[in-house]
Amino acid sequence: MTARSASDERAMPARAVTPSYWSRAWTENGPGYLFLLPWFIGFFGLTIAPILSSLYLSFTNFDMLTAPQWVGMDNYVRMFTHDPKFSQSMRVTLLFVAFSVPLKLSFALGVALLLNRGMKGLPIYRAVFYLPSLLGASVAIAVLWRTLFAGDGLVNKGLAIFGIVGPAWISNPRFSLWTLVALAVWQFGSPMIIFLAGLRQIPQDLYEAASLDGANKWRIFWKVTLPLLTPVVFFNAIIQTIEGFKSFTPAFIISGGTGNPVNSTLFYTLYLYQEAFSFFRMGYASALAWVLLAIVAVFTGVSFLTSRFWVHYDS
């Protein structure tokens, strides 16, 4: 730049600096921001704006035909004091997650351990166990499940061979949720694959060292395998739990969208859907969504905090 007197600089610092500052900023950051443009539009338009909007809506009554009506905390108050369907759907969802996730992971780990012995046909077994996981989230499978667990369905026919008279699983509120748990557990294939990959990463020499010390299979499992697998267990647990909270299609198809019998299959997502799209109570549904967000956030937070105590990362 040409030399300037002190007064000149004081007089016109902005004009001298600005063009090159901005053009420099542009050349440095421009490409990055340009490439991010689609994401920015999506992020602000389809994520941030809706999040803020749904927070606002949660404090209103909104049926989409007229403008939202501010009601303050009414929706939240109603939810926690006055709404048996809310507590029921919470109960159903938590029960579902509490049973399906540990069962799923147990089967996944168990079968992964079996397969990890290194055997002929591993790819075939792996494929066979994985296939239900791939197909399981579809409407077709939910329909199949409903048929299998009907009063005169295949499951009861199978039980009859052992002389057990099975209940009408789907239409009995004591058992309907368990059919959904069974469906979830049937899909243990994908966490199993993650476990397999995790097992494969455990160095051979650790096993050898342990067996040289005289450890039998069980001790090796508890002292070597499992501790080293904890990151994978943790990871699987989080993913499967979040998936469990999001589950919608099976509950919808099996109950015909009602959550019945007696709201025994009223998953939280299904309840939210009913409030929003059957009864058009968008404000209340938004409040329900925020409560779910809070729960997921707390769960994730607590999980990460407590993971320090049981998850061993190699260091």
Partner: protein, 432 residues
């Protein structure tokens, strides 16, 4: 004799004809290609007839095409609601007495008064059926037929068990008395579980001088009424008179296919008088119809002649005039009336009814006679239910399941349901 045609004259004539043809051809084209979206609830039997009428309309109005969609009753309302909210409701859709107030208040149905006498012909239409389609004095829906509630009866089952068919005098006690004999053959129960069935409840309440709703949209019954209702059904259930909860829960969507009579779990089921045709189409056994049970011997007044369903028009449709024309054709055209028969109820236009009566088959005659001869079972049409009545009806089903599965006693359920029903109505009122 040879006819010699003067060539010139022929040419001129044919040109004139062609010109006339072209001109004539222009007018249907101007009537333009009308495409209406039609949506209704019902089974395949209804769909076939409705489509046949639409085809007749298309013949009379070249250029007319239509979209035909239908669902089971329970699925129909959420979907329609979504479409209304989304601003893309069908042009012509079916409406029910239970929902008309709600839809009128939401501005989702077209007021039809201005079309009467012009594109909408209601000259010899039953007056009470016209009234049924009015909200606050304005006409929003055209009744497609009068019906009343009725029980479908599996005659073969009764005959096989050696039990007399139910008569119009049977009360719940009579059903109870005959239950064991009927169930002895193959486990079929004599009654479906009607505790969650709103029309059954309404019929029973009316016989006791109560009602579901009052004219000003309030609940017309007390917790005590419901407690007694649930108690009655709990008693019937333990006595093996009605279907068990596991089986009744199979009837989730109100589709004819999954009712207890079609599934062979019960020998009777709660339905409407115009559904005999639909039921018979999917039932291998011969069916007949009888009234809903009396609350006790000699009690009457439960039934009423209801508009079974209506056609309403979407006020936001681009083709309101065309839609109204279609509706008018549907209820007035005699060949269409013959096709529709009494599947949607007894036709409301007298000239259609008169043309139809002689052609009816025996089961259809049954329907017609049933509605016309209710006698002491009949009393006045109740006011149209308030907004959110549909949700109360759903809540009744859930509550009844609670009692049936033993999760709640009739006392608790009756009291709770009274509170819940009031809560639902209050919530809906607050919104508008």
């Amino acid at each position: 004799m040879t006819i010699s045609i003067d060539r010139r004259k022929f040419l001129m004539g044919s040109t004139a004809l062609a010109a006339a043809g072209a001109m004539g051809g222009l007018s249907p084209a101007q009537a333009a290609d009308v495409h209406l979206r039609l949506y209704w609830w019902g089974g395949q039997a209804r769909a076939d007839r409705t489509n046949a009428v639409s085809d007749l309309y298309a013949k009379a109005n070249p250029g007319f095409t239509y979209d035909k969609e239908f669902n089971a009753f329970n699925d129909y309302w959420p979907k329609l609601g979504t479409q209304v909210a989304g601003g893309n409701a069908p042009d012509v859709f079916q409406m029910d007495y239970r929902y008309i107030v709600e839809y009128a208040k939401r501005g989702a149905v077209q007021a039809l008064d201005e079309f009467i006498g012009k594109s909408l012909n209601l000259d010899d239409f039953d007056k009470d059926q016209i009234e049924g389609g009015k909200v606050d004095g304005k006409l929003y829906a055209i009744s497609l037929g009068a019906n009343s509630v009725a029980m479908m009866v599996n005659t073969n089952a009764f005959q096989a068990a050696g039990v007399d068919l139910p008569t119009r005098d049977w009360s719940y006690d009579d059903y109870k008395a005959n239950a064991e004999k009927l169930s002895s053959k193959g486990g079929m129960k004599i009654l479906a579980d009607g505790s969650g069935n709103e029309p059954a409840l309404e019929n029973w309440l009316r016989q006791r001088g109560k009602a579901l709703y009052t004219a000003d949209g309030k609940i017309g019954w007390t917790a005590d009424d419901l407690i007694e209702w649930f108690k009655m059904w709990a008693d019937l259930r333990t006595a093996g008179v009605c279907v068990g909860p596991d089986d009744q829960a199979l009837d989730a969507t109100a589709a004819i296919d999954t009712t207890m009579i079609t599934l062979g779990k019960a020998a009777t089921t709660y339905a409407n008088s115009n559904q005999l045709i639909g039921f018979q189409a999917v039932n291998k056994n011969t069916l007949t119809m009888i009234n809903f049970p009396r609350a006790k011997a000699g009690a009457g007044g439960g039934h009423y002649r209801k508009p079974s369903q209506f056609w309403s028009v979407n006020p936001k449709s681009a083709l309101v005039e065309e839609a109204v024309k279609y509706v008018s054709f549907f209820v007035n055209d005699v060949p269409s009336g013959l096709v529709l028969g009494v599947e949607r109820g007894i036709p409301c236009a007298k000239h259609v009814r008169d043309a139809l009566a002689p052609t009816l088959s025996a089961p259809d005659q049954l329907s017609l006679n049933f509605v016309s001869n209710l006698g002491d079972l009949l009393s006045a049409l109740p006011p149209s239910p308030p907004a959110a009545a549909g949700e109360v009806s759903t809540q009744l089903t859930t509550k009844s399941q609670e009692v049936a599965f033993g999760q709640s006693s009739p006392e608790d359920a009756g009291a709770a349901f009274a509170k819940e029903a009031q809560d639902i109505l209050d919530r809906a009122a607050k919104k508008s």
